[in-house]
Each structure stands twice: as structure tokens, then as C-alpha cells.
């Protein structure tokens, strides 16, 4: 069964691995990503970013309905993944940085819905 609305079907395979419900899970996906993962995600999302956000903007941020959640979570994952393309040369770490696993997000395990 498709995760995303039909007009975003080209993002379906990305949603399968990136559309995770918590920031911590999305971060773990990001830390495990390779350069090609970032490139594939970025190249597919950037052209449709406005459409994706317009689609989601029909809902309230605290009240996104179940069927739209994967797209919402995909957008959140992209908001965090894009800097790896735009700034970090598709590396899964921030260059010359502290161990990202040691940063604990207070909200990290709260589900985005």
C-alpha cells in the first residue's frame, strides 16, 4: 500500500526509509546514510519541495491526519538531511564536530504527528 499521496509517488521509496516518526529515528537514519542516500533524497525532494509543503499546509501542524503522516515525516527528515548536501559534501557527519550520538534531544523520542 502506498505511503504517500499519488502525486508524490516518485518519493515512495524514500518514504519507506526516511519517513520515521521521531527526530531520534530520523537522526539515526541520517547518521547511517551514505553520500548516495543524501544525493538521491535531495535530488528527488528539492524540485517538489514547494508542492509537498503546499499539500501539507492544508492541515494544522498538530493535527496532521494519519494518511498524510508519512509525507509530513518525510518533509521533516528532509529539513534535517538537506544541510548534509548543501554544506557537508554529503557526509553523514558535520565536519570536525562532536559525536552527534552524544547529543540528547529532549524531544527526540516524541512522535511527530
Amino acid at each position: 500500500m502506498a505511503l504517500l499521496p499519488e502525486q508524490f509517488s516518485q518519493l515512495e521509496s524514500l518514504a519507506e526509509t526516511w519517513a520515521l516518526p521521531t527526530e531520534l529515528q530520523r537522526s539515526e537514519r541520517r547518521w547511517a546514510a551514505g553520500p548516495d542516500d543524501f544525493r538521491r533524497f535531495y535530488d528527488a525532494m528539492l524540485p517538489v519541495l514547494d508542492q509537498v509543503l503546499d499539500y501539507l499546509d492544508r492541515y494544522e501542524p498538530d493535527n496532521v491526519p494519519e494518511p498524510a503522516l508519512p509525507l509530513y515525516r518525510l518533509a521533516l527528515a528532509f529539513a534535517e538531511a538537506a544541510p548534509h548536501n548543501e554544506l557537508y559534501d554529503c557526509s553523514n557527519t558535520v565536519p570536525n564536530s562532536f559525536d552527534a550520538h552524544r547529543f540528547v534531544a529532549a524531544h527526540g523520542e516524541i512522535r511527530d504527528r
Binding site: 519541495l49 492541515y59 529539513a79 558535520v94 562532536f98
Partner: protein, 411 residues
Amino acid sequence: MAAAADQIKQAMPFTTRYPELGTGPLDVRPLIDPELFELERERIFKQSWLYVARAEELAEPGDYKLRRLDVANTSVIIVRDRNGEVHAFHNICTHRGNKLIPDQEAQSLGHTATHTLTCRFHAWTFNTDGALRGIARQESFADLDKSCLGLKRIHCAEWEGFIFINLAEQPRQSLVEYLDGMADHFAGYPYHEATVRLRYSTVLNCNWKVALYAFSEAYHVPTIHKGTFPSLARLEHTEIKCFGPHSTSGIYVPPVPGLEPTPVTANLGGRLRTSDRHRPHLELLPENINPDNRQDFQFEFPVFFPNFLLHLGAGNGYPGMAYFTHQFWPVAVDKTLWEGTNHFRPPETVSERVAIAHTNALHRNAWLEDTSTMEDTYQALASGVLEEMVLMDEELMIRNTHKHWHDYMGI
């Protein structure tokens, strides 16, 4: 001699404005000495006003916050009673001393619908104003003056919605006296509207002042943050002022011709910059912050002694971010709980929510860059090889903190 003084004045315009702080190097020992760390518990952290909660975290009567304070070997309950008044108490039952509420997390929020707090050990119950309300099997205690067995109160005061505590028996100054010129300087911004708090924390293996000092200057920015914020290669760190043990300053970033934001940041940041709610609100800044109303204002950059930073950007620095805070909680001479929090106004649309996640992630990543030096710095300093460290003019806030640290410590 006059020529030398002139030369220093030219090289160090801010520093020379505060002659009592000197221009020489700082001693390293306070950052590494375990005995001084033990003294810091008593002379700094049990004497200063410490920021522990935002008023909105305790919005309703019955709301409480638990804050572990390892540096004072205690944890604190900050609670709003049924009349709306906020109190702070040691998290300790006055019967046999168990923690009233378990405190596995360094900070956590809770709510008591009954406006009472009950100890898990023998079910003693306290009102949220601290009074001992109920003792299981009270008839088996003799001579019990319940009025003396209330929760152990801690001084507590609120300024601009920031709730501070003071562990001293009798604080030397009220909170506003303590805050000195900072109280006015930062007053009036609608901090209470920024209710979306995204907090990160980690335990750094370094002294708390190594972390604090690293976050007290912008000299490092072009080097450390060239990954995440290449736009900060040239910034202006200015308007440095000291108010007693506290200090503040402004950060401006003149635009770099030809440097465009990257596409996703342009898109998402742009959405915040053009939303009425999240756009730059320079007009809301207190009047002495960004006094010339410069459009390239990034954020006001202060140090509240001893361990609180309140960076006020009003949406003009990082897209959409109202303000961000840091705290540095000593755990041991070589261990510090750092907490960094980004404060946003709540998103009204999903796209704003996504854009906030983007700004937040960039800033979190910048913190990963900041924290990358601290354990190295501490290890190197702990070697004892370096007895002193030299400071440039814009590292003045470190100089001020260090000076007042000595005053508090009486050494």
C-alpha cells in the same frame, strides 16, 4: 609608557574601558583544580541566582518542574501552587529524607491534579505551597510540629518569565539587584510567546568554565563554524558591556556580496522570514539592544553569571528563532552537563513546522561544532603545562567572568 598605553587602548578598545579587569593573561588553575571545584559549590553555586525554569513551563496551578542540581548535591522542585504562586523546594521528604519525586532526568516536567506531592516511601503528603498536609498514621508520632516539617524552601524569584533560585540561606541581593544592568537591558521582549523549546544536552568531559568560555566569545566563529555557517566568515562582535559579574554584547553580520543562501535554506528560512509571526521583529527588541537598528543584527550575546546565556535574535539572526539559551551545570571538576535550547514561536502551518526543524537542525549542528573543542581544551589544560591564557579584546566577557569568579571565591 604613554605610548604603550595608547597602543593597548587602540588594540583593546573594549578591554581598556574596564581597567579594573586588567589586560594581562588569566590564570588557568580555576579551570582544572579539584579543590577549587569543591569550593565553587559553596561559594558560587550556593550563592548565586540560578536560572531553572521558564514561567510557561509551569503555566497552570499544579504544574511542576524537577531540576537536578548535582553541583549542590540536591534536586529542586519548582511548582505553581493552587493560587498561582511559584515556589521552589528541595526534592526531599522531611520524614526520613527520601527524594519526594524520582529524578532520573536532569530536568523534567510534571503536574499534580490534587495540588499535593506524595512521597513514595511512607506516603507523606505535602501541599504545593510546601506545607506538610498528611502523615500516614500520624498518631504514632509524638511531639510532631507539622508546621516545622514543611518542604525545605529555596529562594525563588521571577524576572521576565525566567524563574531563578538561590540556594543561600539568605541571598545577599534580590534577583533584580543581582541581575544589575542586565535586568533592564533585556527587559520587555515577549519571551513568553516563544513556547516551542527544542533542547539538546550532553555531558561534556570538561570543566564547566571551559564550556562557558568557549561560548562567551565570537573569535572562534569563522574557524569553527565554517562548515555550517560559511556566511559568518566575517562578523562583528561589538557593544561589549559589563554589568557586575554579567556582561553582554552584540553580534552583527554584514552581508557578504555574492554569497547566496543554499536552496533549501533559502526556501525554508524564507518562509519564516516572510511569515508575520516568525519574521524578524527588530521593533520588539529592548531599546539598548541593536541600538542603531541595524538590519545586519544577528543576536545579543550575554553571559549571566554564573552559568546562563540568553541569546536574543528576535527572528533576525537564525530564521524564525526568537531566542536561544545555554546552561552549564557542573557535575565534577571535569564533567559538565551542557543544555542548549532553541526557542521559537509556535508554527501555525505545517510548512512553518518543517522550516523550524530546519533552522533548529542547522543551529544544533553548529553546537556540534562548538562542543568539538571543549574536551580537547580541558585535557590540554589539565596537563598543567599552560599556567596562563591570553585574551584578545573581544574575549572581554571571559575576562569579566573570570574576575568575578575570583571575587565570589574570595581568592
